[in-house]
Symmetry: C2
Subunit: 340 residues, 2 copies
């Protein structure tokens, strides 16, 4: 592990200058400070400095996810994270991320400069610059719903989709449904892949027929329903499991557009249990991701990583929430529906 002296030697500058650069003193130039920080990160000094720091500061980077109102997906996750952090007397800063932030500076440099001991990434994709740097980072980092291979400093937190989807299939089978469709989120997302396997495994486990025409990838938006629901209906689906509540809102609207009723003709199940789920008409039966607990778990995991416990995955239980969008199967024959 590099020392301040190693950094000074490498740059051919005084130890005191390196120290000023690392500690944000005002009497050196910004360029010199940046050079010191970048070199410190390159030489592996960053993690050492972070571990011996006396301030207990972590941050949440958030991107592509709404979190400012209580109705939005990210809100409770942040609340849960802060609650857990407060119990352990850690300070939490929420930093809305942007392309500029990520291109301006390397992730490790940013963390070192700002004195954070670790971070929680919310809503990022694997293509983000900073996420692509995570296979080499030495900064304790937790990702929601994304997994980085082979780096002891990075962990993944999420909800157990396997059990969640299984609870939904279980419920529909008990209601007599056998032609169950699954409208997934985007392709190339780890969570969509998990939910796809979960659906296939659960249908097999329940002895229900798998029909390729009843399984589709869409996007995590209501609008994707119109591209897939017509074919589900044509192929005789009597129930549709959706990979998110937002998708389910689109599916319910589309079913109604075809002159059918939810749940009288078609049962619909969501995923997430967003606050809107109980406000829909009919109120949505769904698989709950407890977002407060997800936030708490994310902090537990980050705290573990900061203390060198190399946790790779932490999954939260999914909970089945029965409301009014599911009903006993009426054995609706295929092709009954017509678009008005």
């Amino acid at each position: 592990m590099a020392t301040i002296k190693d950094i000074a030697n490498k740059l051919g500058i005084a130890v005191s200058t390196v120290s000023k650069g690392l500690n944000g003193a005002s009497d050196i130039s910004d360029d010199m400070r940046q050079l010191v920080l970048d070199t410190a990160v390159e030489m592996g000094y960053a993690s050492k400095k972070m571990k011996t720091t006396t301030t207990r500061k972590v941050c949440i980077f958030i991107e592509n996810m709404d979190y400012e109102n209580i109705d939005q997906f990210g809100y409770d996750i942040i609340v849960g994270f802060k609650l857990s952090a407060a119990r352990r007397r850690w300070e939490v800063t929420v930093v809305p991320s942007s392309l500029t932030l990520q291109t301006e500076e390397k992730y490790d440099t940013y963390m070192l400069k700002n004195g954070y001991s670790g971070a929680f990434f919310l809503g990022f994709t694997l293509h983000d610059d900073w996420v692509m740097q995570l296979n080499k980072t030495t900064v304790p980092t937790v990702l929601l719903d994304n997994y980085i291979e082979r780096n002891n400093h990075v962990g993944y937190v999420g909800t157990d989709s396997e059990e969640g989807i299984d609870l939904a299939v279980d419920h529909l089978k008990e209601l007599g449904h056998t032609k169950i469709a699954f409208l997934n989120g985007s392709k190339n997302s780890m969570v969509s892949d998990q939910r796809y396997s979960a659906f296939v495994n659960s249908m097999n486990k329940h002895g229900l027929p798998l029909d390729e025409n009843l399984i589709e990838f869409g996007y995590y938006v209501p609008d994707c329903a119109k591209y897939h629901v017509p074919s589900f209906l044509k192929n005789g689906a009597t129930a549709i499991i959706c990979a998110s509540d937002l998708i389910a809102t689109g599916v319910m609207a589309e079913v109604v557009k075809h002159g059918l009723k939810v749940p009288g003709d078609i049962s619909v199940i969501g995923f997430d249990d967003l606050p809107i789920a109980s406000q829909l008409s009919p109120p949505l039966t769904t698989i709950r991701q407890d977002r407060i607990d997800l936030g708490k778990s994310a902090f537990l995991l980050l705290d573990g990583l900061i203390h060198n416990v190399s946790i790779s995955k932490l999954l939260q239980r999914a909970k089945f929430i029965k409301r009014q969008s599911t009903a006993p199967c009426k054995n609706r024959p295929a092709n009954k529906s017509t678009v008005k």
Copy 2:
């Protein structure tokens, strides 16, 4: 949630007698105490009592696992658990389990009677009485290497076999091996199933041929090697991945018995990194389960469950430990070996 009064009403006895039963007072009979405790558990009083208790006591039940010496698998797990618990000021008791203990009393009753807020189960199987009660327990409980479906009070902790096996296959492929055999642990074990899928997935991912003759389930003891290694050798294996270090010791001995050298003719990889792994001749290349960290993680999980964060799974990173039991592939032709 039942109150002391509900319990008194149900049993037709005084509230003060219930209270004495719950608090272990000496002036009521053992039979009456047992009746009060069993009724309290049945009526769901147990978890409430545990959550409001002021003593912070948890326990580790251990069975089928050696843990008394530093060389044994369970030792470091218990050390790690105690370290993490001590940081949060929890008292830990280690309770060697036995059939008698489990048949004498229900798990929840035992926990209530002894004032434990939660437990960590080490070395149990799914057939143990107390494990079979876990689908209904309200006591925060963590299991090593076993998973209980659909109960928010129970969590599973283990090592990420998927990544561990993948690191082993990666290493062997780099050394030029293509005919890689896998000697697994017992059938009907969750961990063996995980390692089996991990091996299949990793071989596919690396574009290596899967040969049914080179994949076998055995037992987690050295002796199982003699039943499978001869056929691996006959079928041209040049490397053998084992599901535990103990299996690997048996495999190495069996390879030598066939007049072949480790690693000159056959590379061998273990799993666990027990203290003996580095003492073997040659020292064993293996996949490390960090047992101190497993123990620490188990406590983190239990602490989460005690605080109502319903974590279902927590996986620890596996680490690849390169020693001398693996070497570049010499393309050993099939059937070269002969049993002496």
